[in-house]
């Protein structure tokens, strides 16, 4: 029996995975979530910003990873618009521009934010490190127009913004190595305050920077998005997703346990 269990067709495992995702979608449930310190720190920092401050969001993710950072962007932007904090969007990832445009417009419509006054999307420029360094000297030297090719001199909310000195916080929403780039060139060289919202895949490598305060806050994956949604009291795809993810996580843990039981039983028999 255990030998059979160990040689089970992988497609049976695939079917189980599909089922534990589909079932909670058909019968949604909600489980209370505790907020961890790194997300709370980011929330507190933004909450304490005076109205009229400006934060910059770097949308550094693509279609292969947008599911986790997108609800983070939504939640943080909602918080910002409620606090009358302006948002500048940029991206170092070539595939992120339409994604950033979509999420910014969606939140703006919901919160009644006005383009050019409350938020702006500058878009994409190639050359990660050089873009970060260039904006540190002068944002206009990198982005002389916004995503819609409107000169930034004609955008009201950018009139008093020259470089990072006028940016209260940079939030990196990343799936790759741009958080490290922002810390190395944005924080170290220009003393820019940085927080991050990252995909699960790179969460673990953020903690050394969190302890040194090179990152003032962190939203770790789907959980981070759900935590921020809880803090601003808004139900979004982060909360919905983390509830569904609960069952998949239990399934994976169950598979590990069953696989190991079968393995040890068979090994004992062989001995």
């Amino acid at each position: 029996m255990f030998e059979k269990l160990m040689n089970i067709d992988r497609r049976i495992v695939f079917t189980l995975v599909a089922l534990v995702v589909i079932i909670p979608m058909l019968a949604p449930f909600s489980i209370p979530l505790t907020v961890a310190e790194p997300t709370q720190n980011l929330y507190d920092y933004i909450d304490a910003l005076p109205p009229g401050s400006t934060i910059m969001i770097s949308f550094d993710y693509g279609p292969s990873s947008f599911v986790e950072p997108e609800p983070m962007a939504e939640a943080v932007m909602k918080h910002c618009f409620d606090k009358e904090v302006n948002v500048i969007g940029i991206t170092l990832e070539i595939q992120a521009v339409p994604l950033a445009d979509k999420v910014m417009q969606r939140v703006a419509v919901e919160k009644g934010a006005v383009y050019g006054e409350d938020y702006v999307l500058l878009g994409y420029r190639p050359g990660d490190t050089f873009v970060i360094l260039g904006m540190g000297a002068e944002i206009a030297s990198v982005f002389d127009s916004d995503y819609l090719e409107k000169p930034i001199t004609e955008i009201p909310m950018l009139q008093n913004i020259t470089n990072y000195d006028q940016i209260s916080l940079l939030l990196v929403l990343a799936a790759g190595s741009t958080v490290e780039d922002w810390i190395t060139y944005g924080h170290t060289k220009f003393d820019l305050q940085i927080a991050a919202g990252v995909t699960g895949v790179i969460v673990s490598q953020m903690y050394p920077y969190l302890q040194t305060k090179q990152l003032i806050g962190l939203m770790p994956g789907f959980r981070g998005a759900a935590e921020y949604e809880k803090l601003i009291d808004a139900f979004g795809s982060g909360t919905k997703g983390i509830n569904t993810a609960s069952l998949v996580h239990l399934l994976v843990i169950g598979l590990v346990v069953i696989g190991n039981i079968a393995f040890f039983v068979q090994r004992r028999r062989e001995e």
Binding site: R11, F14, V17, A18, V21, I22, M25, L26, S64, S65, V67, E68, I94, Q95, V97, G123, Y124, R125, P126, T129, L133, D144, S145, E180, I183, T184, Y185, H187, T188, K189, T199, G200, V201, V203, S204, Q205, P208, Q211, T212, Q214, P220, G221, F222, R223, S237, K240, G241, T244, A245, V248, H249, V252
Partner: protein, 215 residues
Amino acid sequence: MEFLGIWIAAFLTLCIYSFLYRDNPFYRFAEHLLVGMSVGYIIILTIYFGLIPYAWDPIQKAVTGEASRWGFLTLIPICIGLLFFTRLSTRHAWLIRYPIAILMGVTSGIMIPNALQTDIFAQVQGTLNPFSVIGTLSSFEIFGAILIVIGVICTLTYFFFSVEHRGPIAGISKVGITFLMIGFGSAFGNTVMGRVALLIQRVDFLINDWIGTIF
């Protein structure tokens, strides 16, 4: 158009999921279409948000007098950049060494001082800082601070290949492996969350958006 978009997206989603059963032409079609469209997308955005604002605009503005004549300086990096294309000719391929050497020099020069500060000084400081406020820490926090020092030293020792790992060094690097395994375990745990997130989104799309158009 929205209806059509949802159906096309659903069809392509199912094409890719068909790979879970086995490799098949539907999957290969979607895979190659994705590669092609990504390349097309990158071409357009590189021209629009790279070459035009960085290379074309400064020269054009210098010619028309909209900007100062210093704009012509941009011709230097443009020429350096164009040298990348010598790679396409077997006779002149060696010329690609020029732009690569310049980029290597520039990025190395920028990286050294900033990486020293970010990844060496700040990280060492972060490891030792808790001991400067040790009086304010609970015994559990002190345990954590000591654990971090031990972990960092042992992990570094594991990666130190200039000496043979024998005797006490072998013991220390073994402890380093222990820490690394915990690090990789936590990375695996978090990776599961990331991959599951994508799956949830796609299933959500199929059930709520696509099937929603049928019923």
